[in-house]
Amino acid sequence: MAFDLDRAWELEGRVALRPEPFGALAYHFGTRRLSFLKTRKLLDVVRSLGDHPTGRDACAAAGVSAAELPAYARALDALVGSGMVVERSGA
């Protein structure tokens, strides 16, 4: 299932992010899984998901261009798959 850019998302509460030169490390304390965010921009998107009404807004605010958007949606989809990013309920 593809990432729905028009829904509300947030970082799972047990996930910690550590900025790195290449982007960031994401660690989920519940599943003990480690993921790599491969750009700083993706880090900005993931960090701010909870502050925006939709995923699309979070991407736009982080400066993701229209051309880059499909790649970011795929990256976010992978993070949903590993439980790092979850849909925001009651938004």
Binding site: R18, E20, F22, L25, Y27, F29, T39, L42, E68, A75
Partner: protein
């Protein structure tokens, strides 16, 4: 999205380790023949509780997500739970390795209740016979009892950790069945010739044929079986196994030993891989940042004799510690190189100079019976009185 490969980033090192191994004590109630830290007796210089808490503070500041706590048998430290609680209360997750001897029902319940603590039970045979030959009489029953208690308490997804040997490689499916029975996850790692492992490596390391079987078995299971990234030397067989597939020593991992010495990796307790001590003025962060050894490990590697091999990109020369403790040059092939280059090199070196670690906490073995005449000049002499 990024032109630089992640693996290149990791090879040049990160500002802080992704995770690290911390051996809390050299004391252990077992005496496994392949113990990579030659554990047995406590070292009187081991870090105090206060020193350990300071290390945890540093790890939190560096955002090290979790530590793999081991030993020795870490749970024999009286402050073990205090340290675990302090770490998880300071954003440092804990996974600890144990032989299971201290996993009581109460401990199991406590572990089941925590998201931030994981446990791995060591098991080196799927039967008591195979396991106890390596880990000592009764060790199998102890480990199984611990797993039963964890499962009963509702702790799911804990790890069953197996060091693969010549004698248990045929039991991989049986190990999987044990893990499934207790709702645990199987973890298979490589036997290293480190610590007391140096004494048994020749007899215990898997044969070339067994390595191939192991690789195929691991590939078929994908991410369901954990490997701690320890089999990247097998990558030339085909697709790389899940994981980073690089030597992380001093780049993304390291070891803190019970006395606070920092080594490049858990399999490299030897002066040649000693980067510094957490007791120094810069603490652990200072060692990680400024150690000359780590700077060397993070510099581009030449590949040496392996450079001309078409598979160098896959295996990257294999495991540094495996080479070092079998007496092979660090810029040559891994002793278990899948193309056989390591083996032929080992055969060529008639009398190998194998480096030994000065750090050995093995308990003294029972002395072999001494010939009677060594004990008493009169022993064995029967004087007949008529």
């Amino acid at each position: 999205m990024s032109a630089t490969r992640l693996v290149d980033q990791f090879e040049s090192g990160l500002d802080a380790p992704i995770c690290l191994t911390w051996e809390l004590t050299y004391a252990c109630n077992l005496a496994c023949v392949h113990c990579l830290s030659s554990s047995g007796r406590r070292d009187p210089r081991e870090l105090t509780t206060r020193e350990c808490l300071a290390v945890i503070d540093e790890l939190q500041r560096m955002q090290v997500f979790y530590v793999n706590i081991g030993g020795g048998e870490p749970t024999v430290r009286r402050d073990f739970w205090e340290l675990v609680d302090y770490a998880t209360g300071h954003d440092v997750g804990v996974k600890f390795s144990t032989n299971g001897s201290r996993i009581t029902d109460a401990v199991a319940a406590r572990l089941a209740a925590s998201d931030y603590v994981d446990v791995q039970i060591s098991l080196d045979g799927a039967t008591a016979e195979v396991n106890d030959a390596v880990r000592g009489a009764g060790a199998y029953a102890t480990a199984i009892t611990a797993m039963e208690r964890l499962a009963t308490a509702g702790m799911s997804g804990f790890k069953v950790s197996v060091v693969v040997t010549r004698h248990n490689v045929a039991q991989l499916d049986a190990f999987q069945a044990i893990a499934d029975r207790y709702d645990a996850q199987l973890r298979i790692t490589r036997l290293r010739p480190s610590g007391r492992g140096a004494d048994v490596w020749d007899e215990l390391h898997p044969t070339a044929r067994q390595q191939r079987e192991l690789y195929d078995w691991l590939v078929a299971r994908g991410e369901r079986v954990l490997t701690g990234d320890s089999f990247f030397h097998l990558a030339p067989y085909g697709d790389p196994l899940p994981g980073l597939n690089l030597c992380g020593a001093g780049r993304v991992v390291c070891l803190i030993d019970p006395v606070g010495d920092v080594y490049a990796c858990p399999f490299a307790i030897h002066d040649a891989f000693l980067a510094g001590t957490v007791r120094g003025p810069g603490g652990f962060a200072g060692v990680w940042r400024d150690s000359e050894l780590f700077a060397r490990l993070r510099a581009p590697q030449t590949g040496g004799a392996c450079r001309s091999c078409g598979h160098y990109d896959a295996c990257r020369g294999g495991c540094m510690a495996a080479k070092f403790f079998t007496g092979l040059p660090l810029d040559g092939p891994d002793p278990e190189c899948v193309l056989g280059h390591g083996e032929s090199l080992l055969d060529m070196l008639e009398r190998r100079e194998v480096p030994r670690s000065a750090t050995d906490h093995s308990r003294p073995r029972p002395r072999p019976p001494v010939p009677a005449c060594d004990e008493s000049p009169l022993a064995g002499l029967t004087v007949h009185h008529r």
